[in-house]
């Protein structure tokens, strides 16, 4: 689902090119390689199958999710689903279950919004620095470290949010009742009580963790987009007397606009779909947040927390799959939009 845009391909291609050229002379020395010739066709097919497998997978995933959700789709009160936050999937005996997912949707989008607010400036800034200003070893080191950041498992991020960042956020957003800081937090909607955040795992903590997780994606894709801008643009700008900052802002950003936008959208896709980290770091509280440090609950965390205990095939089970479809549609449209934007980049470059 997280389809990497075309910008990544040159690296891979460069890495692969030496291989055939190394094998070619060996093949010419040893003639009887008939077996390989015979295998050529099947291998070609296998490779083709590998290429198509991703499409098969995505169709299969969609069919499976939809099949599990289907019986409930006509029965679900969709208006209620999107407008109520009364989520009571396991009601007391004699009561009706209630599936209002508004707070879950708001939870997902608010955490994502906080994440993007933090990750986009940092990510773009880092990309500009790496692609335009950093030289030699610094540049290489930074690129490697950012790739490493992308390799940290999401459960580890969640753990950091719960054990390290949560307590820090809580201690920063804590005030004595009636104090000035408490008053400021209330007026600016930083906290919903004048004593500060009720718990360390909340919207802000989750947002920071998600920002850290999407920064590597934004940096590496934005850097590709900036590098794709021809040097003649930079030279022309500098020749006209623009300083480096003006060059970045007035020339590079507009030229790489689509690529940068796509980078941010893929970062957003990562944040929307993330599960383990938000499950641990957002507080798992089904409410519409009124302040920055209110706990929230996301769609992904709800699926993860409740799926294990549902009766296979009952309404609750199917509604969790419907949540899955909603997520699938959101992340798919984000990725498709990002791909279309990148295609736009190519066209404008060719023209």
């Amino acid at each position: 689902m997280s389809s990497r845009p075309a910008g990544k391909i040159p690296d891979g291609a460069a890495f692969l090119t030496p291989t055939p050229s190394m094998h070619a002379p060996a093949a010419s020395h040893r003639k009887p390689f008939r077996l390989l010739d015979a295998l050529e066709k099947p291998i070609e097919w296998i490779i083709r199958a590998c290429g198509w497998s991703s499409i098969v997978c995505i169709v299969a995933i969609f069919v499976f999710i939809f099949k599990e959700a289907a019986p409930e789709v006509p029965k679900l009160d969709w208006i209620y689903f999107f407008t109520s936050s009364r989520w009571i999937p396991n009601p007391a005996p004699g009561n009706e279950a209630s599936f209002g997912a508004l707070a879950l949707l708001v939870g997902t989008f608010s955490v994502t919004a906080i994440a993007l607010l933090l990750a986009v400036p940092i990510g773009l800034g880092a990309a500009v620095y790496i692609s335009e200003f950093a030289k030699g070893k610094v540049k290489e080191t930074l690129k490697i470290v950012i790739e490493l950041l992308a390799a940290i498992p999401s459960i580890v991020w969640g753990f950091i949010g719960l054990m390290v960042l949560g307590p820090i956020v809580k201690s920063v957003f804590t005030a004595a009742p009636g104090s000035a800081w408490g008053h400021i937090m209330m007026t600016l909607h930083l906290a919903s009580a004048d004593t500060g955040a009720a718990q360390g795992t909340n919207l802000l903590t989750g947002g920071i963790i998600l920002a850290l997780m999407s920064v590597p994606i934004i940096v590496s894709l934005s850097e590709d987009a900036l590098r794709a801008v021809p040097d003649s643009f930079r030279e022309a700008s500098l020749a006209l007397g623009a300083n480096p900052w003006e060059t970045v802002r007035r020339v590079l950003f507009p030229a790489a606009r689509n690529g940068l936008l796509a980078a941010c959208m893929l970062g957003m896709g990562r944040a929307v779909g993330e599960t383990m980290a938000v499950l641990l770091a957002t507080g798992h509280n089904n409410r519409i947040p009124a302040a920055l440090t209110d706990p929230v609950r996301t769609m992904t965390a709800t699926i993860a927390a409740e799926m294990g205990e549902t009766v296979h095939g009952d309404a609750h089970y199917r509604v969790l799959f419907i949540l899955g479809i909603v997520l699938f549609v959101i992340t798919c449209s984000i990725n498709v939009a990002a791909d279309l934007i990148i295609k736009g980049v190519k066209k404008s470059n060719n023209a």
Partner: protein, 305 residues
């Protein structure tokens, strides 16, 4: 769901037939082949009822196999009411119940089976309400707790309970598939005007474990949470609970739970139709013994002794 239920019951029936067939064959060959090795007949005890007790019942069943390998206890949930109904129509030997049997249910069993219902108290269940030590409020009534936790409740700030403390109440509970969640809902949230169970309000942080609830209350001055009594730590305070505002609160504790004076506690029962006999009697005696009661404590309930 209906379809899968039918398939499941069909499979169960098939399995039972297959099993009973095998059993007979085994007995025959055992009887004629080696008379010097007296094989004890396999006995099945059917236990059905309370979902709250299902983990406890399963733990008893598992450990009892070590005591009496020839006895297989088949523990099932479904709810206390279902268990009592099964007692009536003879589809269970033991009914686990997390509430006392109603007189009319007792009469019904007598009417259908002709046997008097026998009651055994096998354990106690109690929940503590935890608050932060910085909170000067040390006592609370069930009525107030209801308005704090239940849907549509009127209390959201501490000063309503006692002007000595202010701030929004931050609620920490368990996730909605936990037995503790069900228990507090049943005992604290009360009934709606139509006589239905009131649900919890929105905006409660749902924690994955009881220890997590206690930890969050410990860190939050305005926090309030619920968990089993075993989760008490020095960093949290537990509230004395009274039935009505103005009455003296009862401190949670094993003795208070056993005596029933603590309001958020209940007895857990086993019911049988008529005086239990044979293996069923042996099983219940074992549950009431020290060994069976050890499992009660291990599963997070309060033991009899």
């Amino acid at each position: 769901m209906n379809k899968s239920l039918i398939t499941f019951s069909a499979a169960t029936i098939a399995a039972v037939f297959a099993f009973s067939g095998c059993g007979k064959k085994g007995e025959d060959s055992g009887g004629s082949g080696t008379p010097d090795a007296p094989k004890k007949k396999m006995v099945e005890i059917r236990a059905k009822g309370s979902d709250t007790m299902i983990q406890l019942a399963t733990a008893w069943a598992e450990d009892y196999r070590k005591v009496a390998p020839n006895v297989m206890v088949n523990a099932n949930g479904g709810g206390s009411g279902t268990g009592i109904a099964s007692l009536q129509n003879g589809t269970t030997d033991i009914c686990n119940a997390s509430r006392e049997i109603k007189p009319e249910e007792k009469a019904k069993v007598k009417e259908v089976t002709g046997k008097e219902v026998k009651e055994f108290v096998v354990a106690y269940d109690a929940l503590a309400i935890y608050s932060n030590p910085a909170n000067p409020i040390k006592e609370i009534s069930i009525e107030e707790l209801r308005e704090i936790w239940a849907e549509g409740g009127t209390i959201t700030t501490w000063d309503v309970i006692n002007p000595a403390f202010t701030g929004k109440i931050s609620l920490f509970g368990r996730q909605n598939n936990s037995g503790t969640y069900d228990y507090l809902r049943e005992h604290v949230c009360g009934k709606t005007a139509e006589g239905k169970q009131r649900e919890f309000r929105g905006g409660i942080s749902e924690m994955n474990g009881s220890a997590e609830v206690v930890e969050n209350v410990a860190k939050t001055p305005t926090g309030l949470g619920y968990s089993g009594m075993g989760y008490k730590t020095p960093t949290v305070n537990w509230l004395k609970i009274s039935k009505k505002k103005g009455e003296a609160g009862v401190e949670p504790g094993i003795e208070a739970a056993r005596s029933g004076s603590y309001p958020i506690s209940r007895k857990l029962y086993i019911y049988t139709a008529g005086e239990p006999t044979g293996e069923t009697k042996a099983f219940i005696d074992w549950i009431l013994s020290d060994e069976g009661q050890k499992i009660v404590a291990k599963e997070g309930f309060v033991s009899l002794k």
